[in-house]
C-alpha cells in the first residue's frame, strides 16, 4: 500500500517535477466515437476521459419532456479498470453527483430553447484516472457538444487546483492536481468557466484554504484554462483544416 509522502512539493518542485502553476501535458482529440453526433477525448497527463454527445433526439421517458426546450442530460462514469482498485460497474453516488454538476455547467451555455421536447445526451467516461477526471470530462463534453453542431454561447473550460504541503508542512497552491496531490493534499478544487461570458459554471472543493489561498490558486488555474481553451479550439478546427 502507498505511504503518505513527507512532502508533495520541495524547492518549488512537485512530485512529478512540475512548478506550482504548471499543468500536465494536455491532448485533445475529436471524433473518437464515430457513431456519436460529436465526441472528444481529453488527456490531462495520465487522466484520460472520452465524451460523446447524442442528440438532440427524442426523449424517453415522456414525463421528463420539457415543452419549451431541450433537456441536457449528462452521465459521468468510470470504466472498472480505470482506477487502481477495480470499480464496480455502473454509477454510484459519487458518479451521480458529478453527472449532475457537469450537466448544470453545460446547461449554462447550450441554447436549449432551439430544440423543444428533445434531449441532448452527454456521456462522459473515464478510461484512465489520475485525478481531475470531472474537469477533464467537462472539457471533453463541451468540445463534443460543439463537434455535434449543438448551438451554444461558447465553450466550457476548466482546470482543477489544490493545496499541497511542502517539506516544512506549509501549504502551497498548485494548478492541475494529479493523483498523489488529490489523495494526500490539503485541498482539491474543481473549477470551470464559461469562456464567452467569463462566468464560473462549476466549482467544488473539499479541504481547507484561506480566501487568499483560494484566489491565488484560482489565478493559476485561470492561466491554465486560457491554454486549455486554445487547445479545445485547435482540436475542433483540426478536423476541417489542413489537406
Amino acid at each position: 500500500m502507498e505511504v503518505k509522502p513527507k512532502f508533495l512539493i520541495k524547492n518549488g518542485k512537485r512530485l512529478d517535477g512540475r512548478k506550482v502553476g504548471e499543468w500536465r501535458e494536455i491532448k485533445i482529440t475529436t471524433g473518437v466515437i464515430p457513431n456519436a453526433d460529436g465526441s472528444c477525448q481529453v488527456d490531462f497527463g495520465k487522466t484520460k476521459v472520452i465524451a460523446a454527445v447524442y442528440g438532440p433526439r427524442e426523449l424517453h421517458p415522456k414525463h421528463m419532456v420539457l415543452s419549451d426546450r431541450a433537456l441536457v442530460r449528462a452521465r459521468y462514469d468510470m470504466l472498472s479498470f480505470s482506477v487502481e482498485d477495480r470499480k464496480r460497474p455502473g454509477p454510484g453516488r459519487r458518479e451521480i453527483e458529478i453527472s449532475k454538476v457537469i450537466a448544470e455547467a453545460l446547461r449554462s451555455v447550450v441554447m436549449v430553447e432551439k430544440f423543444p421536447r428533445s434531449v441532448i445526451d452527454v456521456f462522459v467516461t473515464v478510461i484512465q484516472a489520475d485525478a481531475s477526471t470531472r474537469i477533464a470530462g467537462l472539457n471533453a463534453a463541451s468540445v463534443a457538444l460543439a463537434d455535434a453542431g449543438i448551438p451554444m454561447k461558447g465553450l466550457v473550460t476548466g482546470v482543477a487546483f489544490g493545496k499541497i504541503y511542502d517539506e516544512t508542512g506549509k501549504g502551497v497552491m498548485v494548478a492541475d492536481v494529479f493523483k498523489p496531490e488529490d489523495q494526500w493534499g490539503e485541498a482539491d478544487i474543481a473549477y470551470a468557466k464559461s469562456i464567452a461570458n467569463d462566468e464560473v459554471v462549476l466549482l467544488q472543493m473539499d479541504g481547507d484554504v484561506t480566501k487568499k489561498e483560494f484566489l491565488e490558486g484560482k489565478a493559476m488555474a485561470d492561466k491554465a484554462i486560457e491554454y486549455t481553451y486554445q487547445e479545445q479550439v485547435k482540436a475542433l478546427k483540426a478536423k476541417y483544416e489542413g489537406d
Binding site: P56, E58, F115, A146, L155, A196, K237, Y240
Partner: protein
C-alpha cells in the same frame, strides 16, 4: 461577401451595431458571436454561420425521405432522421379517397416502407406534418438509400442543383436528395455516385469543391471508357 472563416462557439465574428446577427450567431453587447462550429459569412450587414454538423431540424417545404414507423387509425408516424417524428394524415398519402371504414392504412404505407415526402407544416411544438401527394413524391420500393450528414446536403445539391445534376449526368444514376440527410439512388454507376457523394461530404467546407468534383468525375468516366 467576406471570406468564409472557420469558427467555434463563442468566438467573435464582427464588432459593431450596424451588423445583424443571422443563423448560427448571437449578439453580445457590441459583438456578434458564433453559436456553432462552422463557417462564418458576412453578406451586406448580415452575419451568419454555416454549420458543419448537427441533426436535421424539420422546415416547411423541405423534401425529405421518411420511413414509416407506426401505422395508426387515421395517420402514419414517419421517422425523418430528426428529433421530431412527422405525421402523415390519411388524406395526404395517396390521390384517391381512403375510406377509414373499409380500407386498411397499412395497405397504402406499412411499417418499414420508405417514401419521398414533403413537409407541409411544422407547428409550435415542432411536430412536422408531411404529404406524399405532389410531383416527385412517392413510395420507394427499390434502389438504395444512403445516409449523409444533413449539414452537407446544400453542397451535395449545389447552386441551382448544379452538383446533383453533374453527378446524375456523369454516372447515369437516378437520384433524390432529401433535406434530412437521406439520399435515394438507382441505376447507372451507383458505386461511383456514392463515392462522389462521400467526397463532397468530406470536403464540403473547402473552396473550389465543384471544380475538383468535376475533374474527378471526368477522370473516372473517361478513364473507364479508355
Amino acid at each position: 461577401m467576406t471570406e468564409k472563416n472557420l469558427i467555434v462557439p463563442g468566438e467573435v465574428i464582427v464588432e459593431g451595431m450596424d451588423y445583424l446577427p443571422g443563423d448560427g450567431t448571437y449578439r453580445d453587447g457590441k459583438m456578434i458571436k458564433s453559436s456553432l462550429l462552422g463557417l462564418a459569412q458576412t453578406r451586406d450587414r448580415l452575419v451568419r454561420v454555416i454549420p458543419l454538423s448537427g441533426r436535421y431540424m424539420p422546415k416547411r417545404d423541405d423534401p425529405v425521405i421518411g420511413i414509416i414507423k407506426e401505422v395508426r387509425y387515421s395517420n402514419w408516424v414517419v421517422e425523418i432522421k430528426s428529433p421530431y417524428d412527422a405525421l402523415m394524415m390519411v388524406g395526404e398519402a395517396v390521390d384517391r379517397f381512403i375510406d377509414l371504414k373499409k380500407d386498411k392504412l397499412s395497405n397504402f404505407f406499412n411499417v418499414g416502407e420508405a417514401l419521398i415526402c414533403r413537409i407541409t407544416n411544422v407547428d409550435e411544438s415542432m411536430t412536422p406534418m408531411v404529404t406524399a401527394r405532389g410531383p416527385g413524391l412517392r413510395k420507394l420500393t427499390d434502389g438504395r438509400i444512403i445516409d449523409v450528414s444533413p449539414s452537407k446536403i446544400p453542397r451535395i445539391i449545389g447552386k441551382n442543383a448544379s452538383m446533383v445534376s453533374l453527378i446524375k449526368d456523369r454516372t447515369g444514376t437516378k437520384m433524390f436528395v432529401g433535406q434530412n440527410g437521406r439520399i435515394w439512388l438507382q441505376g447507372g454507376d451507383e458505386e461511383l455516385a456514392i463515392k462522389v457523394i462521400r467526397m463532397i461530404e468530406k470536403d464540403a467546407h473547402k473552396v473550389g469543391l465543384t471544380d475538383s468534383i468535376q475533374k474527378f468525375l471526368e477522370g473516372e468516366v473517361s478513364g473507364s471508357k479508355a
